[in-house]
Amino acid sequence: MKVEGEHLFSGTQQQVWDLFRDTEVMAAALPGTKKMELIGENTYEAVMNVRVGPVVGEFSGQLVISNEDHPTSYTMTVDGRGKPGFLKGVGDVILTNQGENQTLMGYTGEVQIGGKLVAVGQRLIDTVAKSIISQAFEILDNALAERESAEAEGREAAYRKSSESDYAATVAKDLIKNVLKRTGSSEDS
């Protein structure tokens, strides 16, 4: 499955780059992330509990960043497995300056999905992917805004790192909570 698109961030290229290269922010942006740890240079280990309505699947795997060209582009490789199947994706991210405080992120990638997920659930895969991506951008937009306001209020030097991670964690929690809330007791036809 091909994944491609673009998203305009309200921030400088450097700010967006930093945002993306922050483990906590990344963990927050990927819905259902239970764990994300740096285990080697540019290599993260992650456990995700992906939830779409009543369908829940736990995946564990690795995320590797390569081909870094600071602050313009990098390649992201994801390799995950769970009981519902497996997922392997390679994607390129390119940031371009679109004028003052505007950065366009373009992404193209190829995702392979296998097992039960595609065998019986392929009808929803594309829509799920879109939905996950749009949620992620919503979170990233908020994280960026928070970072900027913190900067504007001059509190960045003091607790920049932790505030971001706190913020990211809060967003992630909210999101997970929301998703869980929304789906928890829905009936079935």
Binding site: F86, Q112, A119, V120, Q122
Partner: protein, 780 residues
């Protein structure tokens, strides 16, 4: 020959049992102390197994054992080759690679079995399967038929130089010389995709090893119980009498249930002998998409040379045939494609190069039609395209090319699935074709209906396609017929039933010979305890091969009856007749004796059986044809298509078939109906979607679309009768016929409905999405 019972529309005697839940299926077999198996299947299509961890699965209460290839030890061996190696055509390559019970080192298609769980219930077994963890090293998958032979391409079988499973060339006449004479040389590429058989009953097997009796009982949904019995005995080091295979009622076979020695069939007998308990496994619907064989995927490049009058001067063909990860069934399917690529036409020059390739997809073996639909599709599409190019009526082009009536037996000179040159035994094609045109009212449709509906904004089209079907191949089948002391008849054949009405059609033959009612005949099919020799139900051969064996056995019993009755009634045999369960003197009806009394007298309690005779009124006979009987048919349809939504509706469907002597027209028509539904699936609905990693994307009936009654048109079936000269009944097979011409007729009708769109169809199945692309998007 005029018959009293054969050829009559006798209602199926097996139906009351089937319709009231009184028929035994493998799923109904439940034994005391029985265990249940569930399989861990690979998610990956191509991957090395690095390690397997079954420890968590073994801890679940109710789990009796979890086994991998390593546990099988010496018992681990691949399935046997099913079809002997191909003929010694010059330059033939054949690499035999067979499926394995449990994967040892490398997974070669998604769904291959890595471990088996045996537990007290299927629920527990499936819970345990979820807890097995396999560490894989994924490998790039082989999926593309056209690229998989390129140097450096990933290999399905690492011990081979390439993914080539087989290669051969068949030649007749001199195509290149014929081409020089041609007014038109057409060249097209065709893509024929995969479908599944989707029997209503999935596969299943129950095994029970009786250690004290040293006997293995197997209930199996096989189409071929006797070869399974023989093969199992050989695998397990047992004598054949130590193994009994019963294929009870089976809910549809369609080819994939032929003597496959599926992995599950290899694992379960080993388990029951190891554990000393009965073990059951019933394939579920999702497993069926991974575990049961499939068919039809080919890429073909076809060249046809024609005169300006539309006479076919020659055909040149390159076939790439996908056999999936293994090739247990040899070359049967692609040879069928070759032998049908000239259709029922007199083609003097033919050159066909066949490449069979391994891919990381599910194994391919014959599915109803078995390579024939692909052959018919390309020749009929080429004729349609040629007719347009030459501005000829497509009907005239066919009329011009049919093998004439007086040319039979006609040697097609192509080695077919029987590994001998295909000889078309008999035929009379033109009248059947004209009958089809008449029944579908072709002239009226194109002259009146089509213009009228077109003016109303409706897009309607007509397609009429003739086809041949090679049927009734050897080697042989047998039948045992016996008169019981009750006067009722018992019969047995090794040809199991998966819905073909054996219990009725074969009973009709016996009733005809012995003068009894059809209901008085009880036929057992598919139990190795009842008959020792035979092959199975496949290749549209039951009515021909088993039918004539039944006739031979019944005739022999009739001889015995007459001989004994002649002695008792003191009347010459030629003055006796068999009627109503009695033997009577033709002129003196009250002078008679019942078959039951004769049966008792034939098995004397005192006194000797006379020298040269056998006890009882019983006979076992075999029939093996020198070569097959080739059937013919013509299907026509009128369909409507909405070129905005791509939805189609078939308004009229007619079939003219010639399967020689019909044993029972109801059964023949039922076979046509079923075949047509499969063909409609192959034309517009049924496609197995594999992605570039050989992942199957539609492993459920929500996404794999079989036609339902709502998609089925009313089908009118008409009959012609050109009896087969090489068997006594004159029967030809019809089991696969219905499926063969449908995609070709559908394509013709669709093109005919959409004249403004410059549509040329060279692929099947189509779909609304694909039709949209063909109509509105220029090809890359």
């Amino acid at each position: 020959m005029t018959y009293k019972v054969i050829g009559k529309r006798v209602k199926r005697v097996e139906d009351p049992r089937l319709l009231t839940g009184g028929a035994l299926f493998v799923g109904d077999v439940n034994l005391p102390n029985m265990l249940h198996a569930a399989f861990f299947r690979s998610d990956y299509a191509h991957a090395k197994i690095k390690s397997i961890d079954t420890s968590l699965a073994k801890e679940i209460p109710g789990v009796v054992g979890v086994y991998t290839a390593e546990d099988m030890g010496e018992a681990w061996e691949p399935g046997p080759p099913l079809v002997s190696p191909p003929p010694t055509l010059e330059g033939v390559v054949f690499n035999s690679r067979r499926q394995v019970p449990l994967v040892k080192d490398k997974v070669k298609h998604a769904g291959e079995i890595i471990a088996v769980v045996v537990a007290e219930s299927r629920y527990i077994a499936e819970d345990a399967v979820e807890e097995i963890y396999v560490d894989y090293e994924p490998l790039p998958a082989v999926t593309d038929l056209e690229k998989c032979l390129e140097p450096g391409h990933p290999l399905v079988h690492d011990d081979l130089d390439s993914n080539l499973a087989a290669y051969l060339v068949q030649n007749k006449g001199d195509y290149e010389a014929a081409k020089k004479e041609a007014d038109l040389v057409l060249k097209r590429k065709f893509k024929l995709d995969r479908g599944a058989a989707v029997a209503m009953e999935n596969r299943g097997i129950v095994v029970d090893w009786d250690q004290k009796n040293q006997h293995l009982m197997i209930w199996d949904t096989t189409q071929s119980p006797i070869p399974i019995r023989n093969g199992m005995a050989a695998r397990l080091g047992l004598r054949t009498h130590q193994v009994r295979v019963v294929a009870p009622f089976v809910g549809g076979g369609f080819g994939p249930k032929i003597m496959m020695f599926y992995a599950e069939e290899m694992v379960l007998p080993w388990l029951t002998m190891k554990l000393n308990r009965p073990v059951k496994w019933i394939e579920d619907r999702k497993e069926n998409f991974y575990a049961t064989t499939q068919e039809r995927e080919q890429v073909q490049e076809v060249e046809m040379a024609l005169s300006k009058e539309g006479r076919i001067l020659g055909i040149k063909q390159k076939i790439i045939h996908d056999t999936g990860a293994f090739d247990p069934y040899g070359l049967t399917t692609p040879l069928n494609t070759q032998s049908h690529s000239m259709g029922g036409y007199d083609v003097q020059n033919y050159n066909s190069e066949l490449f069979v390739v391994f891919t990381n997809k599910i194994i391919v073996t014959p599915v109803r039609g078995a390579g024939r639909p692909q052959g018919i599709y390309v020749v009929e599409r080429m004729l349609d395209i040629a007719s347009k190019e030459l501005k000829l009526d497509p009907r005239d082009v066919r009329r011009l090319n049919f093998i004439p009536k007086d040319a039979f037996p006609y040697n097609h000179e192509i080695i077919d699935q029987a590994f001998v040159e295909l000889v078309l035994d008999s035929g009379n094609y033109l009248p059947a074709y004209e009958k089809a045109l008449e029944k579908i009212e072709y002239d009226k449709f194109v002259q009146e209906e089509q213009p009228r509906l077109r003016a109303e904004g409706k897009y309607v089209g007509i397609g009429v396609v003739p086809f041949i079907e090679t049927t009734g191949v050897g080697p042989y089948e047998g039948a045992r017929v016996a008169v019981e002391p009750s006067g009722k008849i018992s019969a047995a054949t090794g040809v199991g039933t998966q819905g073909q009405s054996h219990m009725t059609s074969f009973a009709q033959i016996i009733a005809e010979e012995l003068g009894v009612e059809v209901e008085d005949v009880s036929l057992v099919s598919g139990d190795t305890a009842e008959i020792h020799w035979g092959t199975g139900t496949f290749a549209s051969r039951g009515a021909v091969v088993a039918g004539n064996a039944v006739l031979a056995a019944a005739s022999d019993v009739r001889k015995k009856v007459l001989k004994l009755a002649s002695k008792i009634l003191e009347t010459p045999e030629d003055e006796l007749e068999l009627e109503g369960g009695l033997v009577r003197v033709a002129d003196i009806p009250e002078k008679s004796i019942s078959l039951g009394e004769l049966a008792v007298l034939a098995n004397p309690f005192r006194g000797a059986v006379e020298p040269g005779t056998e006890p009882g009124l019983e006979s076992t006979k075999y029939f093996g044809p020198a070569y097959g009987a080739t059937a013919f048919g013509v299907h026509g349809m009128i369909l409507e298509v909405d070129p905005e939504t791509m939805m189609i509706k078939i308004h009229k469907y007619i079939a003219v078939e010639d399967c020689g002597t019909m044993l029972n027209p109801l059964v023949v028509e039922g076979q046509i109906h079923g075949g047509v539904s499969m063909g409609i699936g192959n034309a517009y609905y049924e496609k197995l979607h594999y992605d570039e990693n050989a992942q199957l994307l539609n492993a459920s009936l929500a996404d794999y679309l079989i036609p339902t009654s709502a998609e089925m048109p009313h089908i009118e079936v008409y009959h012609e009768n050109t009896p087969a000269p090489n068997n006594k009944l004159g029967t030809k097979g019809v089991g696969e016929a219905g499926a063969i011409p449908v995609p070709a007729a559908f394509a013709q009708a669709l093109e005919n409905a959409l004249p403004d769109f410059n549509l040329e169809i060279t692929e099947t199945p189509l779909s609304p999405n694909r039709l949209y692309e063909l109509l509105y998007k220029s090809e890359e």
